[in-house]
């Protein structure tokens, strides 16, 4: 089975801090994604990557950046955390960009920014 591991289940940070959320997948998948889940808004795509060192903006990239230096690892960076970035963050991966390829998700990181 594909395993997508997010480094932290819960994080509490202060406003203005730089925050790193880490995600690792173990199935040599090409594509990786970062979503956030908020009540009443569903899952919204922040950034995604189709290859190492490659990144593309999703629907809500403002306030975030990403890094993919190795195929298996995709990091989400909050340069200066704000309270409106309190959310559940979900990482996902897929084998490739084929439209039929399903996404495999990690268990999520609940981030609270105080």
């Amino acid at each position: 089975d594909v395993k997508v591991t997010q480094s932290s289940r819960y994080l509490v940070k202060r406003t203005g801090e730089k925050v790193f959320l880490e995600c690792v997948q173990d199935m040599d998948h090409e594509n990786m994604f970062w979503y956030r889940q908020d009540p009443g808004l569903g899952l919204r795509l922040i950034y995604f990557s189709y290859d190492v060192k490659m990144k593309e903006k999703g629907d809500i990239p403002e306030g975030y950046s990403v890094s993919r230096e190795k195929k298996e690892r995709f990091s989400l960076i909050l340069e200066s955390a704000s309270t409106n970035q309190t959310s559940m963050y979900l990482c996902a991966s897929s084998l490739d960009s084929n439209v039929l390829e399903k996404l495999f998700f990690g268990s999520g990181t609940q981030l609270s920014v105080l």
């Binding site: 899952l43 999703g58 439209v99 039929l100 998700f105 999520g108």
Partner: protein, 114 residues
């Protein structure tokens, strides 16, 4: 602008009866649709999908129906079981240059009661 909408935030069904979860979309470029299920403290997992060239896809107790002219799809679960209690997300992609980047709905919390 919510391109994929699930207008019922919650649904309660008796065990053994049919559960019907609905989803509407506005983007006519979407041609591939998926349902994901999410339990608390876990990431979403793929459930079933349908291509726009079909109007029905069945997998065991789960059937997805697509009405392209109405831009509407539904997930039927028969018979419903207590283990089906979860949040269900509808998702879509265009497959035209978008790869498998998914746009998700807001989710419906299904509760199957004994």
């Amino acid at each position: 602008d919510q391109q994929v909408k699930q207008n019922s935030p919650s649904l309660s069904v008796q065990e053994g009866r049919i559960s019907i979860l609905n989803c509407d979309y506005t983007n006519s470029m979407f041609d591939y649709f998926l349902w994901y299920k999410k339990y608390p403290a876990e990431g979403p997992t793929f459930l079933i999908s349908i291509s726009s060239i079909k109007d029905k896809n069945e997998d065991g107790r789960f059937t997805v129906f697509l009405n392209k002219s109405a831009k509407h799809l539904s997930l039927h679960i028969v018979p419903s079981q207590p283990g089906d209690s979860a949040v269900y997300f509808c998702a879509a992609n265009s497959g035209k240059g978008g790869g498998n980047k998914l746009t998700f709905g807001t989710g419906t919390q299904l509760k199957v009661e004994l």
